[in-house]
Every structure is written in structure tokens, then in C-alpha cells.
Amino acid sequence: MTENEGTIKLDNLLCPICFKNFNNLQKLNAHLDIDHGFIDESVGSRTSSLPESRTDTRLHQKKQIKRDHWVKYVPNSSLCSHCNRLLSKSTRPLNCRKCGNIFCKMHCTNIVKLNIDAKYDPINGKWFHCCHDCYTSKPGYKDFGASADLTDDYISLRNSRREDRSLQKLQLENRLVHLADGLIRVNKKYKGKPYYAFKRRNDISDLERSITPWKEDKHVSRCHICQQPFGLLSRKHHCRLCGSIVCDSISRRCSNQVLLYFLQEVTLDLPYQEHITKKEQMEMPDMSVRLCSRCVNIVYSSRKIEQEKKESLSMLLSKYHSMSTVVKVIEGTLPTFEELLQKTETTKTEKTVPNSNDILSLAKLREKLLRSFTTYTVLTKQLLVIEPTNRTEKSIQDSIKIVSAEFINDKLLPLKNIPAVLSPDKYAKEQSDIPQVKQFSEIMNNLSVKEVKAYREELMVLKEQSFLIESMVENAKALRKFDEVNTLSANLKELSLRSSEIQKLLGENGFE
């Protein structure tokens, strides 16, 4: 820093925080230290006693800041206006240059710019000591520094960058059109004249150099893209569109020979005058353009990606997409279901009646989940039936098969628990567990889907009712109404009989 002071004279120094202008580094440093609180102990003494201020005071020695408003220091009786400490020579009494009150040195450490009338003057003033109050009450004081809105600058910068890019792209595309047209014309000219091969080569070379100025070989020692040095094995190549020199590494793909046919096929939107057919391309495999990877990206790849996006998905992919939406539904529903299940189970252990609304929504959720699982398995089956067109598809199919099997194993487990909650006794639970496990196996059912649904609904209602009756029995017992208990338990028996009947029906046939 000391070097800079002496040697470099900078006219325009901006504070990085508040963007104030300073004419030298020292002032900027002082400003940073004082106004933004960068003072640290080691350099504090140096910054506070700036040599700059010394020279300035020498210059303005005649015009001293006014002192008539100062409070006079009286030994053994003056007190610091801030801490009320008795001031002595050892505590270095100091007058605030702004308000004139007297302070101990500790409480007069801030520095503000004042003019000779002791008024705030941030532009032409000089640095003077002042008390904390005068410091914080100066105009424009902010506790947390200044802020500046740079959004517009950023936007304009970004826009200009984007414009540059689109211009560059346009330029490259124009060059490509000229190059391709020229190449095809040259080819037509020498078609069927094998003896002019050398001349043809020359013409092409001239054409290529006319499109864009090639960079001089001797100035370049490293590949423009991968920065690897050129040598005997890695030769220099020119990109035909931007003219930069790149290597021909196969692994890094810094440059490539792109066949003209493919180039034109992808960039059909460009105004080509000549077109090369696939047949012609097959006959003349040397009709190609060397492009560096950047130009390939700008001209070719972005278009290729757009085109592939527009193409419809293959059967495999579309099936997989619908599968993943089903997965999303299942994964979204499962947590709520489990939560509700937990809730109902705890109420069950506490011997209270679960909220009937809870049971209702539990049943609904479960049905929704089961339905989703069924669609999932159906989709998986459909997907596995699709004949794979190549090896990649085959491997994709295999992994989807594994993943879906795992998914069902993982997620179906909590669903098995639900009958334990809904069933009144163990017998029914055991009964209902069996169809739960079976439901996804390929059992041909004698019942129609509608019937199964109706039965399942009835089962749900029955179990709900059993719950209610159970609680009624408890109530009646508590109230010692034993004749009611008789009737109710008779009904309970009837209910469980009917529910086991239905479960038998469903159990033999499996759920849908």
C-alpha cells in the first residue's frame, strides 16, 4: 500500500461500498476506516493520524476551524460530556469540533468532514474529531452503510451480452450458408473430372479461407478450446466457421468433421441455395466441414436438441412417463395415509372410539392407493410387453422391471396393516390379510369389478358399524343396562358373520 502512495497517482477512486469519489488512495483508506468501520488496531494509529491531513492543515494553517464555541477545559472540574469522568491531562481532554463539548479521548474518536465554520461539509471539508452524537447526526449517516441498485446495469449488461451472442450466431450461420453453397458449387464444377482433383482441392481451400480469415499458425501453440499444446501427434486444424485453431482430439472432441448432408438436414431453416442429397453425400464422403466444438454447439447442437424435443416419445418412454406420474400420486398419498393409520391405531389401543371421519377418510385413501397400485402394475406389464428395438431399450426395460418390483414391495407393506384397524376381531383380520396379499397376483376372478367394489364397500360399512356397536356395548355395560348388551352383542355377532361371509367371497376371488 505504501508503494502505491508514492508511485501510482489515481484520479478516480471509488469507494466500493458507497461509491463516493476520492482523489487518492489514502483518502479512500481513511474513508473506509472511518465511515465504514474498517479500523483494526494495528493500523488504527496510522490511519487516524494521516499524513495527508498533516499536509492539508499546513496548507490551510491560516484558516483554522472556529473555536469560539468550545467548552473550556478547567483542570480538576471538567467532566466528559459522555461518561461524566473527571478529566485530567492523562485522559487527554478533547473538544468535539462540531458541537464544542468537551470529552475524554475515548469518547471523541469519530471523524467527520467539517468546514471552518464547524458545519458538516462532506465535499470540501476537512477531517475533524467529533463526538458520537455529532457523528451519527451528520446528514446521510446510515448504520449499515449505503446501498446501490445495480439491477439496471446488470440488465443492460446482460442484454448486450445476449445481443452479442445472437449476432455471433447469425454471423456463423451466414458463413455456414456461404461455405456450404460454395462447396457444393465447386463440387458440381469438378464433377466427373478426377484429373482436376488438385485444382478442386485448391478451389475449396480458397473458398474456405474467403469465408473467414484463418488464424496464423505460428502465433498459436495451444488448442483454442482444450489449451493442450500442439505437437507431432496433435496437429493444428482450423475451424471453417470461426477460423480459430483447434486440435483434433477424439476424446476431447475439440473439432469434428461434420458431413455436409447432416449439417444441412439439421439447419434446414437457413437460406441455402444449393442442397446436397444423401446419395451425393454417399458418393463423396469428403464433402464435410471441420467445425470446432463451440461452433458445433452454436449452429448444430441447439437445433438438433430442439428437433428431438419435438419428436414424439417412444412407446417405452411414454409408458414410463405415465408410470412415474402414478408413482408421484402414490408417494404423495402414502404419508397422509400412514399418519392417519397411526392416529387410528393409537385411539384403538386407548380403548376409545376412533373418529368415524378418520376411518372414512382412511378407507377412501386406501382405496385410492390400491387403485393407483393397480394402474402401476398394469402399466408395468404393458411396458414389459413392448418389443425392445435395440439393446439400450432392452436394458432400460429390465431396470424398470426391477425398480417397479422393488417399489411395490416397499410401498405395499403399510397397506397390509389396515384391516387390523378396521376389523373387530382377530379372526376377521386373518381372513382379510389373505386377499390383501393376493390382490396383485393374476387371479381370474368370478366377480365383476363392480361386484367386488360393492362388496368391499359393504365390508367397510359393516366394519364401521361393528365399531359403533362395540362402543355401544361398552357404554351399556358401564350404565349396567344388561338387556341392551344382549341385543347389541347379538347384533355384533350378526355383523361379524356377514362381514366374514363377504370376506370369504372376496378372499376366494381376490380383490379386483
Partner: protein, 209 residues
């Protein structure tokens, strides 16, 4: 000794929100609540009534009107001695449903079941007769055709509610002393039926735990 307790199994049927539970509440605890929650499944209540020196115990099964609980209804009306088919006189749809219930009861329930057709919510039309959507004559005609007891009631004002049940109670054939004692009938001299109640508790406890 001369007046045995007869218990009657009675079931309430009808569309949702016609006031089945309200009628029962009025009959059992002489109470009414404006915003009743819909019944879930079927509720069970009892009430004793004295008719002509006979004590009749009503065991009332108040079924839920919502369609999804329809499958429960047969279980309760199958061996019921009496049924209350309720409709809302301000809702024609409920009367159509009531017709269906009557038909179903005749087909499925026991032959000698006593059915009462009840048009509820008379209190609504007290001030404004135009609110009535099901004519009294319509109900009467249906009752006559099918041989039903017919009443128009209001659970809110308690109008005719007790009469319905009393009327049913009168029509039930009384159990005599001579008739063989039934499970559901407990005679007065069997008052000290500790055995029965002990039996009941043991049975219940073995079932639930």
C-alpha cells in the same frame, strides 16, 4: 305378574335428513336439536312405554339414511316387528324413497311386520302452507293401499311423535303369560334375574377382550 314386558324391535327407515334420528330423540328423551350430525351406520336406543297396563320396551334401531349405509338396513329390518318409514313433507324425493322402502319391507321383512308411514317436519308448513310438497292425501293413499299406520309429525314441536309409537305398541300382539317365555320377554316375576345379567356380562366380556 299380569302385565309382562314385551319388547318390540323397531327399525327406522327413510331418506337422509328427513328426521329419523330427531323423531327417536324426541320419543326417547323428549329433546330436539337443530343441527344434528348425520347418523353413521345404525344407532340403538331403547324406551319403555306403558300401554293398557302393559309395559312395552321399544328397541329402536335408527339407521343411517345415506346411500352408502343402505347395505346395513336389511340386517336390521329382517327380524324387526315394527318399522317406521319416514319422509320429509317438504321433499317429494323423500316420499318416493319412502315408497321404495315400503315395497322392500313387504318383500324382504317378516310377514307380520307393522309399518308406520311418517311424514315429518309439519312445523315448517305451520306458517306457510306453500312449503308443503307432499300432500297429506298422498301419504294417506299410500298408507291405505299398503295397510300402514299413517301420521304426520314434527320432531321439533313433538306433534304426533308419541302417538306413532303408542299406535304401534297397541297393534303389537301382546305376549301372554301362557305363551312360552322368549329371550326377549322378561316377566315381572323374573325381576330378580341376576342370573340373566351375569350371563350377559360374562358373554359380553368373553367377546370383546
Amino acid at each position: 305378574m299380569s302385565n309382562p314386558i314385551t319388547s318390540i324391535k323397531l327399525v327406522l327407515l327413510g331418506e337422509a335428513a328427513v328426521g329419523k334420528s330427531s323423531i327417536v330423540l324426541r320419543f326417547v328423551s323428549n329433546d330436539f336439536s337443530e343441527n344434528k350430525e348425520p347418523t353413521i351406520g345404525a344407532a340403538f336406543l331403547t324406551q319403555r312405554v306403558n300401554i293398557n297396563n302393559n309395559t312395552i320396551k321399544f328397541e329402536i334401531w335408527d339407521t343411517a339414511g345415506q346411500e352408502r349405509f343402505a347395505s346395513l338396513a336389511p340386517m336390521y329390518y329382517r327380524n324387526a316387528q315394527a318399522a317406521l318409514v319416514v319422509y320429509d313433507i317438504t321433499k317429494p324425493q323423500s316420499f318416493i324413497k319412502a315408497r321404495h322402502w315400503v315395497k322392500e319391507l313387504h318383500e324382504q321383512a317378516s310377514k307380520d311386520i307393522i309399518i308406520a308411514l311418517v311424514g315429518n317436519k309439519v312445523d315448517i308448513i305451520e306458517n306457510d302452507e306453500s312449503e308443503r310438497k307432499v300432500a297429506r292425501e298422498e301419504g294417506e293413499r299410500l298408507a291405505e293401499e299398503e295397510g300402514l299406520i299413517f301420521f304426520e309429525t314434527s320432531a321439533k314441536t313433538a306433534e304426533n311423535v308419541n302417538d306413532v309409537f303408542l299406535n304401534i305398541g297397541e297393534k303389537i300382539p301382546l305376549k301372554n303369560d301362557n305363551s312360552s317365555p322368549n329371550d326377549t320377554t322378561i316377566t315381572e316375576d323374573q325381576r330378580i334375574n341376576l342370573a340373566a345379567s351375569a350371563n350377559a356380562t360374562s358373554e359380553a366380556s368373553s367377546c370383546s377382550c
